[in-house]
Each structure stands twice: as C-alpha cells, then as structure tokens.
Subunit: 295 residues, 2 copies
C-alpha cells in the first residue's frame, strides 16, 4: 500500500472536528429538507423530487457541508481541507459517486445517505485512474471500482441520520394527516392526533401545514385537541416538567410532542397535577375525554 | 384570431389576483436569493451559479409561484389555474422558454427576469405546434417562434424586480465589502460604511456576513461605526422618527439604512436631537467624527 499524505491530512482534519459525524448528519438532513421545500410543496420524500431536484440535492449537500465545516473553496476542486484540494461527491447510494475527468487523481469526499434506513456514510478516497471502472456515462464520468471502494477511508459508515418522520409513518396515518381536502390547520390537528410520544420537528409541522406560521398552528391545535385529552408539549413554561413527570421525551425549542392523557386518582410517578386535577398518560382502553385547558 | 377560452380564463384569473405583478416579482426575487444561498456561499449573482443550479432556478420559481398564488398541482401540467392545466416555464431571457413535447398545445406560464436590469416579465401562451420553431434541442424541446411570441398574453412586461444591491454596487465598493480576509463582522461593518442612504435587506446582510445572526452583526456594526459618525437605522424604537427627520427612507422590519451624521447648531428640518445634541446628515466635506452612542 502506498503512502498518501494528502489523504491522511484531509482525513485527520475531519476526524479532529468536534461532533464531525453529527455535523455531516445535520448537513445531509438539511439538504434533503431544503430541497423537499415541504412548507411550500408538502413533500417529504426523495421519490417526490424531479430529476433536476435530485441532481440539485448533491449541490445542496456540497454547499451545506462547506458552510458547516467552514471550508474554503479549492482552486481546482470544491474545497480546501488542511491545504488539500478535495472534491465533494454525492450519490443516493454507496458506490454510486460519479467521478468526472477533472477529478481523476484528486481527493474525493464521498457522501451518501438512505432516508428510508435513516443512515448516512462519508468517506475520503483518492480517485486514481486504477480505482475507477473503465465504463463511462455520457458525461464521461466513472464510478469507483472494487479497488477504489476498498481504498475508501471512511469517516463514518452507516451513521445515524435524523429520522424523516413523515416518510416513516405507516401509510394509513400519513394519508390521514396529509389528506388534501383538509385545511393546513386541519392537517396539523391530524398530525398531533395521530403521532404521539414522538418528537415532532418544526420542519414536519411546516410540511404538514404548508404555511409560514407553524408555531401558531401548533398553539391552535392545542385548543382543538383539548376535548380529546391530547396534550401538545413544547420547550416552554411547565412543558418540560410535564413531559418528565409523564415519562415522555422533552422537546427542544422548535419541536413538539403530543400525548393523550386522562384523569387519575393515583398521585405519584407517571402522574402530574394540572389545573387542580391529576393526569396520567391514557392508553387505548381509556375512553376519550377532555384534557387540561392550560398548561 | 381564434378564440381560446382556456387562455382567457387563466389570464383572467391571474389578473384578478391582488397585487399580482408584485407577487410574481417577490417569487422571482426569492427564487434567485434562495438558489444563491448567500448566507452559506456569499454569492449574489446568477453568473456565480453552477449549471445545475441555473436549471434549478426554474424549479424554484415554479414552486414559489405555486405557493404564492395557492395554485393546485395540475394532472398533466404543473398547475391548475381556474380549472385550466398550465405549465410553468422559466428562462433567463424572454423568448428562451423551452417547450417539451408533452406541453405542445398546452397553456404555458412563461416567466423571465433580468437581475442586472431589475426587470421581470410574465405571460401566458398556448404552445401550439405552429407557434414553435422547427429546431429542437437534444431534449426535443422547442422555443416559441415569432407567431408564438406575438400570441403571448402578457400579465406583466418589464415589471420592477427588487434590486439586487450587491450585484448593482460598483466593483470597487463591492470588493471592499466582500474582501475575503475580513471576518463576517468586518464585512458587515464595511457594508454599512460603504452603502449609505439606501435600504439594505436582511438577505444582503446575511450574504455579506455569511452567518446566521444577521441582526446581531448589525447591532455590533452600530457600535463599531459610531466613532465614524455612522448611524444604522432599523424599524424599531426611535429609528423611523430619526430617518424621517433626516429625510431618509424608513426601513421596514428586517431591513436597515446607514448614513453618516455630524453635529449641527441649526435646529429644524433635516436635523434631529439625539442624546442632547443636534445632528444632520454629513456630506463629503464634513470631517469624520463620532456619532451618537444610543438612538
């Protein structure tokens, strides 16, 4: 095996970055979400994108990774990493990166992710000619061959990508939420009616609402769902304390969590007093009844 | 001339929309700004985009126009407008719209804009075969011929697109502002040092700062530029009153305006009292001196 100091320097630089893997994950999640443009289009899946948009995902990943790691533009390639020219390459699947003529012999930062499996991988490889397949596409780009894939210095392999909530919902709940003849508010109500005990990010609310003011729609959903005993907890006021008492995850700013509660006489762990009454999480056998008004 | 009721219905629908032209202008401005992604890339010009991004501008225009006018997706074409199938077509220049096979005979919403001239145009035309050139590009798309261009029902022609401030600055001031070795704060200081008496949008500050927190950078610039007598006015507190007294435009929320002031003994129109001193706009002949600290 031959030495490649440039590769070592670039790999070393990335490995020294605090929370490197998490930051790649954030960059990829954001890239997908920005190209979905859920607030305007209601889309939540790569399958819903046009061909142009699928290509543009790679551009967005390149831009966001550069900004996230504060990289300078390269002279020949996309980035300068520890003084080394590095080209950013995106593909929807591992090994699918297309290396153009001008990147042959250069360091390539190969990025891929699978939104269905909620995983992503990032590696660095020097795209020497011997590591590329002989077949070319119409743009004369070539994929890595087995030797190229073996030479990949993985920075992260099958790391955790933040889950795409709408993509992972069962089809029944998803269509109950995204039902087109509902208003934006109606869809947000459905979201918090159907998805419980699970953190819901602002991006999901915007995609469901297809409106600017997600937080306002959430506040209104709180009123609409009170008769059904559904609490919608955010990060503010008593909410973290309520979430903790009920044994639920605590939403960070810009995220929410819904759950159905019912009155209980048992005071103690798993229950919380709100408006002078005692509440616990409801289960399927509990009849539907009103929840607290203000919390 | 043959009747085209579908065209009339679609044209009529758009013409009935409140502030129709302004909303197209906003949609186009936003499309450019979102694809520039100035906050992450520092870019401000279509010339700085890659080929993929230039193509994607058309997708973004299609998406934002749909959201802006609350249009439903068509079955065959992009939109349903007053029940008519309408395809959205973007081109960087008037007449450049490429009509694909599947849109021949259909209504096309043809959109173009010139960021250098700060103009945009939108028209509707039925892309009948006889209105298309015979030559095709590699994707078998055809442009409108003279008859097609004559048949265009213009909704707006050379309407006003919000000015792209950085694009329109003289090269000297622009490079003084975007000088790469300055920090983000340093570049924002330069922006308010070099651009006076002109509304500066949040988007411009973000592009110059290449950081999240534009407003914070503006607040800090206020302190940094106080010794040079430069005021930076926003929409809050006394600022509108100060702007008015000095004869300047009043910035709306998310925009700012800078100007250099100097002490004056003359009280009256064109002057304003701040911190017990009287101030007027400085001109080139006024020596550089400190401005008010808090306003």
């Amino acid at each position: 095996m031959t030495e490649d100091r440039g590769l070592d320097r670039a790999v070393g630089w990335f490995r020294q970055q605090p929370n490197m893997a998490e930051r790649f994950a954030i960059a990829i999640r954001r890239s997908f979400d920005e190209v979905f443009d859920g607030q305007r289009t209601g889309r939540y899946s790569l399958d819903q994108l046009s061909k142009v948009e699928k290509t543009y995902v790679g551009t967005k990943v390149e831009i966001i990774v550069q900004a996230e790691f504060g990289l300078r533009r390269g002279h020949r390639m996309d980035y300068l990493v520890a003084g080394e020219e590095v080209d950013a390459k995106w593909s929807m699947r591992s090994g699918g990166w297309m290396i153009p003529m001008e990147a042959v012999g250069e360091l390539c930062l190969c990025i891929t992710a699978d939104d269905a499996k909620s995983t992503f991988s990032v590696g660095l490889v020097r795209a020497q000619s011997g590591r590329l397949r002989s077949s070319r596409n119409q743009d004369k780009k070539r994929r890595l061959n087995d030797e190229g894939m073996s030479a990949m210095a993985w920075l992260e392999r099958d790391g955790l990508l933040a889950e795409n909530l709408l993509l992972h919902l069962d089809a029944e709940r998803r269509s109950a939420i995204l039902y087109y003849s509902l208003s934006g508010q109606g869809r947000v109500n459905q979201l918090f009616r159907k998805v419980h005990a699970q953190i819901i990010q602002r991006e999901v609310v915007l995609t469901v609402a297809q409106q600017d003011d997600g937080p306002k729609r959430v506040r209104d959903a709180r009123k609409h769902l009170q008769p059904e005993g559904i609490l919608i907890l955010g990060h503010q006021g008593n909410h973290p304390r309520i979430a903790e008492a009920l044994g639920l995850a605590t939403p960070a700013k810009g995220s929410w969590l819904a759950s159905r509660v019912t009155e209980t006489t048992r005071i103690g762990p798993g229950s919380i007093e709100i408006e002078g009454k005692n509440w616990r999480l409801a289960d399927r056998s509990d009849p539907v009844g009103p929840g607290p008004h203000s919390y």
